[in-house]
């Protein structure tokens, strides 16, 4: 288990009309993001991810391995 880290993100609601068929994936893990996303400052801008566990994964693994992730950038 990794050491406890301080998460700074918050839930943000997404506008999603019933006739909107677009699908959004988490830029960190790849999972589906539905009506809400977890938003946090990733160092190079705000990332919107699947949930708090993705912020933790970003801080403890993704960023140390690959560097800062820019918002809307595929990795």
């Amino acid at each position: 288990m990794t050491a406890e880290i301080q998460l700074t993100g918050r839930w943000v609601e997404r506008e999603l009309a019933w006739n909107d068929t677009d699908v959004l994936n988490c830029p960190v893990c790849g999972r589906l993001i539905t009506r809400r996303a977890w938003a946090f400052d990733a160092g190079a801008g705000e990332l919107r991810v699947h949930g708090p566990d993705c912020e933790e994964l970003y801080l403890t693994y993704w960023k140390p391995t690959y560097g800062l992730m820019k918002p809307n950038a595929d990795h």
Binding site: M1, V23, N25, C29, G30, R31, L32, L57, Y66
Partner: protein, 574 residues
């Protein structure tokens, strides 16, 4: 009146068995009442119970390929639509690969379970529906370039609303599937299984009370998480990498690559597929949940190979997955994905195990045949005059391990499915089996050899039958491990009526791949022959037990020539 159940280790064991038996009974309903052979013979489905948040609490997992979808699909549906979407008696169906399903044929049905007005959980099942429309009978278009060619895509919609048929949805589905009678029967088998599950859960509440069952299910999930974390913690910390090349995507002849880095840190695992090829044009892409299934499968293989830990959402918590969107392991709309589930997923499992070989060499296997060897066919049956369609698969060789030979003729390890008996096959479809058996010399040699592939020859008995195929490991055979040798790859051949030799499909029909093609019409008297891929060998073949080599030769599993070449058998005999 409720009985008291203490939630100590004994009580939890009782509750776990009760919940698992409900899932098992649901599976029996599916098997006994479905119309299609893929359900009642192949068992290509899973049945589950989930809590009100969509956490898996019990399963009868005939097909591990669905493990990744189960914990995600209900939860994502709840997140998208909210609890208020569900009402008592509803049954929701869903096959959207971009919203949590494995590929278009796989449909998840979910039924909310209420206590008065309160939603307390779900009964669910996932099944591979044999025909869902699209450009090819059997809905396996090997040359599909988008999801719309693969069949009818359903976001979560209600098949039943408060127990009544949602006729508008049924009409759309039945009008778009080629064999609507089968769909009607198979969807009712799924619905029947869910209703049995709902009734049995209610009976369990009556026996022990709702609060005890709900709290006990949560404790079971926590227990499984603790147990799996303890097993992961026994693995050496570190970063383990591997990569594999897949021969083609069905549309072009170009290979593509999948990479993985597995990080074991303490009691958790991260499987990171960053660096894998961008999604391909053909249908060999997989969805996020398919990649997740492969990760769960490989992780459980090395941490709990005997399934001693109850399989529920607790088992998934210590496992983290990074599957970049837009890559071959996480296809984006509108990319096709039907073959990703059946043929990329087993290779992902092999890839993950190859990476884990450095961490736990005694617990991993060499490459398996790695392809579901999908054969699809359909047409008008000359006996009934009705349209039929079938999704058929056969066993391949499993990879050898440090302690045993690979299984012979095993349907891929991510599916656990059964083959269809010849008698059932021939009574339903206008095809004659000329031969069916294990393929000699198809296994990879090793201290523990790989499993043998299967081979079969079919003769067409109808005026015409339309065939599609999605076989892999034809050009790149399954690899051995730790000094073991590669197995023979797969092969798919055709002999036209009146001709004397079998030839490849690309030679006769000009298709892009010899084993991935769509809508090739064969006529009465034509013959189709295939061999699946064998399993790779594990360890130096010269270290194989001499008696085992002798038995392989005597049984015809390995020819004398191959035994001489790979094992030094003839030298010893002299």
């Amino acid at each position: 009146m409720s009985r008291k159940l203490e939630l100590d280790s004994v009580g939890l064991h009782v509750l776990h068995n009760a919940l698992s038996n409900i899932a098992a009974e649901m599976a029996l309903v599916m098997m006994k009442t479905s119309y299609s052979t893929i359900f009642n013979e192949g068992l290509d489905f899973s049945t589950v119970l989930l809590d009100r948040e969509g956490n898996l609490i019990a399963e009868k997992n005939y097909t591990p390929s669905m493990m990744g979808a189960i914990p995600n699909t209900v939860r994502w549906t709840l997140e998208e639509f909210g609890e208020e979407f569900f009402e008592p008696g509803d049954i929701v169906i869903h096959n959207d690969p971009y919203r949590g399903q494995c590929h278009l044929p796989e449909h998840m049905a979910m039924m909310p379970i209420f206590r008065e007005d309160e939603l307390l959980g779900f009964a669910g099942n996932i099944g591979h529906v044999a025909e869902v429309g699209g450009k090819a009978p059997g809905s396996f278009a090997s040359d599909a370039t988008d999801v719309y060619q693969e069949g009818l895509r359903l976001p979560p919609v209600k098949l039943f609303e408060r127990g009544r048929y949602n006729e508008q949805v049924w009409r759309i589905i039945l009008a778009n599937h080629r064999t609507p009678k089968n769909t009607w029967g198979d969807f009712h088998a799924m619905a029947g299984a869910l209703r049995v599950g709902e009734r049995r859960v209610r009976a369990l509440w009556d026996r022990y009370d709702v609060e005890t069952v709900t709290r006990g299910a949560a404790k079971l999930i926590d227990y499984s998480e603790r147990r799996l974390r303890a097993e992961i913690a026994k693995l050496p910390d570190g970063s383990y990498e591997s990569s594999t090349v897949v021969e083609d995507d069905g549309v072009s002849a170009d290979p593509f690559e999948v990479r993985v880095k597995i990080v074991i840190r303490g009691d958790e695992v991260i499987a990171d597929f960053t660096g894998s090829s961008p999604q391909v044009r053909g249908p060999m892409n997989c969805t996020f949940v398919v990649a997740a299934s492969a990760v769960y499968n490989a992780t459980f293989c090395v941490t709990d190979p005997q399934t001693l830990i109850p399989r529920n959402s607790g088992c998934y918590r210590p496992i983290r997955i990074i599957a970049p969107p837009g890559s071959v392991v996480n296809v984006r709309h509108p990319g096709p994905s039907v073959g990703g589930n059946t043929d990329l997923q087993p290779k992902l499992i092999d890839l993950l195990l190859a990476a884990l070989h450095d961490a736990v060499p005694e617990r991993v296997a060499a490459s398996s045949g790695g392809s579901s060897s999908n054969l699809l066919f359909g047409g008008v049956h000359p006996r009934s005059g009705r349209y039929y369609s079938n999704y058929h698969f056969d066993g391949m060789g499993a990879g050898g391990t440090s302690h045993a030979d690979g299984n012979d003729g095993e349907v891929t390890r991510h599916s656990n499915c059964r083959n269809t008996p010849v008698e059932v096959f021939e009574s339903r479809y206008p095809l004659l089996n000329l031969n069916y058996g294990l393929a000699s010399d198809s296994c990879g040699a090793g201290r523990h050899r790989g499993g043998l592939a299967t081979e079969r020859t079919l003769r067409v008995l109808a005026p015409e039958i339309t065939f599609s195929a999605l076989f892999d490991r034809c050009k790149i055979p399954p690899a051995g491990l730790a000094g073991g040798l590669s197995a023979r790859g797969s092969e798919l051949l055709v002999k036209r009526k009146g001709e004397s030799e079998f030839r490849r499909f690309d030679e006769i029909f000009g298709v892009a791949s010899p084993t991935k093609f769509t809508n090739v019409v064969l006529r009465e008297g034509d013959e189709l022959r295939y061999r699946t891929a064998g399993g790779g060998g594990f360890g130096d073949p010269r270290e194989r037990d001499r008696q085992a080599v002798r038995e392989d030769v005597e049984e015809g599993y390995v020819s004398r020539e191959a035994a001489e070449r790979d094992y030094g058998y003839a030298e010893e005999a002299e």
